[in-house]
């Protein structure tokens, strides 16, 4: 899946027009632009809204037409060098303006120079947006993304490490076999925690890791911790950022179970619904203590930022405090390794061997960039 996406990582190419985040940004920016124009054109303040609404009659069809063309052409557009791609987008903008004008002109004859005005507006918008996306691509360049992901490397609480070692020590004399298993679990867990976790991994691997982690916590907490697994219908092959769930489970145990003098349940619910992978974690929560809240925020923000780096606007993380429980809900787009390595995307110009599948490429582009940069 990697090392084939960008031949020249120093040259930020065009944005991916199939990415929800990109499309949203374009929609918002162009409509804001139209609003600014309405402010400039309206004779009175009260007329601004009317002028703006009137302009949308042209702006929306024009914008949607351009976006539709770019969406269709995206797989090979993004492969072009920046200048050629920008030129093509300008051409698309001019032609789309012409088409929209033709359609509107048949209904009511438009004054002279209207077409030129539209096209100039369109080209200015294209220019500004391309400049913005280029800046953004630089900001998210391989080196910087890499550094940010590295900085966001999830850290396990030292508290957990030492308590676990202590728990294993307590078993050495009485139950050496269990102590062995526990040590192997710990080794596995720390192997993952210490490696460079910058590439997406299958969900089943993350779940396995979570199981090992909870196994260790169970050793320590015994009956006080019950885990309710609801993963029968999970998409095992979905690609997720490594350590997406484990830090959140650690939070659930630390804030939900440990301060509780009665047994408590942590529930994990994973399922796929309309192309979106949902992960819902729930734990008991008592609002009174409230002393180590900051640690919780840290882990949440860490996972949230990593989700944003990997999936941009297509992933979300929400947390909710109910009366006596705490819930975290993660949504990420369903992407798989198989879809990533699929070949034979129909392309217009000479395709590169093993070119990535267009549908899933955006999710992994950045991660793949990181890998390419590392060699």
């Amino acid at each position: 899946m990697a090392a084939i996406i960008r031949q020249n990582p120093n040259q930020p190419a065009l944005p991916d027009f199939r990415n929800l985040g990109t499309v949203l940004r374009i929609l918002v920016a162009v409509n804001l632009g139209a609003a600014v124009v309405a402010f400039a054109r309206a004779q009175q303040l009260s007329a601004v809204f009317a002028v703006w609404v009137e302009s949308t009659g042209v702006v929306e069809p024009y914008l949607l037409l351009v976006l539709a063309v770019l969406w269709a052409a995206s797989p090979w557009l993004t492969r072009l060098p920046f200048r050629a791609g920008a030129g093509l987008i300008a051409l698309v903008t001019i032609l789309a303006g012409r088409v929209v004008f033709a359609a509107m002109d048949t209904r009511a004859s438009l004054p002279d120079g209207t077409l030129l005005r539209w096209i100039l507006f369109g080209l200015i918008a294209v220019g500004i947006l391309l400049f913005y996306f280029r800046l953004r691509a630089r900001a998210l360049s391989p080196a910087i993304t890499e550094a940010r992901l590295q900085a966001l490397q999830a850290r396990i609480r030292p508290h957990f490490l030492f308590n676990s070692i202590n728990a294993v020590l307590s078993l050495v004399r009485s139950d050496p076999r269990r102590a062995e298993v526990a040590l192997v679990d710990m080794a596995d867990l720390f192997r993952v925690l210490m490696r460079e976790n910058r590439e997406l991994t299958p969900l089943e691997d993350e779940i396995e890791l979570c199981r090992q982690y909870l196994e260790l916590e169970q050793l320590r907490l015994g009956d006080r911790l019950t885990v309710d697994w609801n993963v029968k219908s999970m998409p095992a092959d979905a690609l997720v950022p490594p350590l997406m769930l484990q830090p959140l489970l650690e939070n659930a145990v630390y804030h939900g179970i440990e301060p509780l003098s009665v047994p408590g349940t942590v529930s994990i619910n994973l399922f796929l619904s309309r192309g979106v992978v949902h992960a819902i974690l729930k734990n008991p929560y008592r609002a009174t203590g409230g002393n180590h809240h900051s640690g919780n925020k840290m882990a949440l923000n860490n996972v949230r930022e990593r989700l944003a780096l990997h999936f941009d606007a297509e992933a979300s993380l929400e947390s909710r405090v109910a009366k006596d429980s705490y819930e975290v809900h993660i949504r990420i787009p369903y992407r798989t390794e198989a879809a990533n390595s699929a070949t034979g995307v129909p392309t217009v110009t000479g395709p590169l061997p093993g070119q990535d599948n267009d549908r899933s490429r955006d999710a992994n582009a950045r991660i793949a960039i990181s890998e390419a940069a590392r060699g």
């Binding site: 030292p158 508290h159 490490l161 030492f162 308590n163 070692i165 202590n166 728990a167 020590l169 307590s170 078993l171 004399r173 009485s174 050793l219 320590r220 907490l221 015994g222 440990e258 301060p259 509780l260 003098s261 203590g289 002393n291």
Partner: protein, 256 residues
């Protein structure tokens, strides 16, 4: 002293940690006569055990649900013969720093048997850490207030307290059931529990959760003042002139 065995109580919420400590104490037993009088899962259980079976030393975890180790140590001081307390902790950077600053003994988990042994050997020369020092340690607000009655230590859950009233040498703790006498300072209690209590009078803290409302009263001289109405108790408390803003602030909160 040398011939009487050292009586030790183990307090930890995690079973493996208790077992480990017991193993280590067994190892020390050959070098130093000692007797493990029991194990407790939390502070309340420990206090209960110690009322009937006194100990010389309590080895307690710091981080525990319900009542943490530091709070336990504060309540143990009320016993007729307070034991020496040595804290055990897996990791807690800030806590550990404060323990060092205040010269409060602690052992790092996992505990080395040599460390434990030298700590045990010191015990006969140690005195229990004072309440002032314990109050310096970073801990959550206490979950219980402890009072001594007929040489037993009684725990009063803080959430049951309706109001605290300073009277001469003592503070009266009022719950919906009854009253207790406490020897502490009202100002310190106020700062320890923060927003749980609100000062309605120079000598009185009322529990926010128990305030039902306020009532305006006019006495015979024609002076008007506010009285706090409380849930669970029949009596009301006067609000002093200086604390009148409480009526407005608290009133708004209950309305919201």
């Amino acid at each position: 002293m040398a011939e009487a065995p050292l009586r030790v109580l183990i307090v930890d919420d995690e079973a493996p940690a208790r077992r480990r400590l017991r193993d280590l104490l067994d190892d020390c037993a050959s070098a130093l006569p000692l007797l493990v009088i029991g194990e407790a899962q939390h502070g309340r259980e420990a206090l209960e055990l110690l009322q009937s079976a006194p100990a010389d030393l309590v080895l307690t975890d710091i981080h525990m649900p319900d009542m943490d180790g530091v709070e336990l140590a504060r309540h143990l001081l009320k016993l007729a013969h307070p034991p020496v307390v040595i804290f055990t902790t897996a990791f807690h950077e800030h806590a550990v720093h404060a323990f060092e600053v205040n010269a409060v003994d602690y052992l790092m988990k996992p505990i080395r048997v040599q460390r434990l042994l030298s700590a045990l050997q010191k015990v006969p020369r140690l005195r229990p850490v004072s309440a002032e020092k314990l109050a310096q340690l970073p801990a959550m607000a206490r979950r219980f207030l402890s009072v001594t009655e007929r040489s037993r230590v009684v725990l009063v859950p803080v959430e049951d307290v309706v109001y605290l009233k300073a009277e001469l040498k003592y503070i009266t703790i009022r719950t919906s059931q009854r009253e207790y006498l406490l020897e502490e300072s009202l100002t310190k209690l106020e700062s320890e529990f923060g927003t749980r209590f609100v000062r309605v009078h120079r000598n009185c803290l009322a529990a926010r959760d128990h305030i039902r409302g306020f009532e305006r009263r006019v006495n015979d001289d024609g002076d008007a003042h506010w009285e706090v109405l409380l849930a669970g108790v029949p009596e009301t408390l006067p609000v002093s002139r200086r604390q009148q803003f409480v009526v407005r602030d608290t009133g708004r909160e209950t309305a919201a």
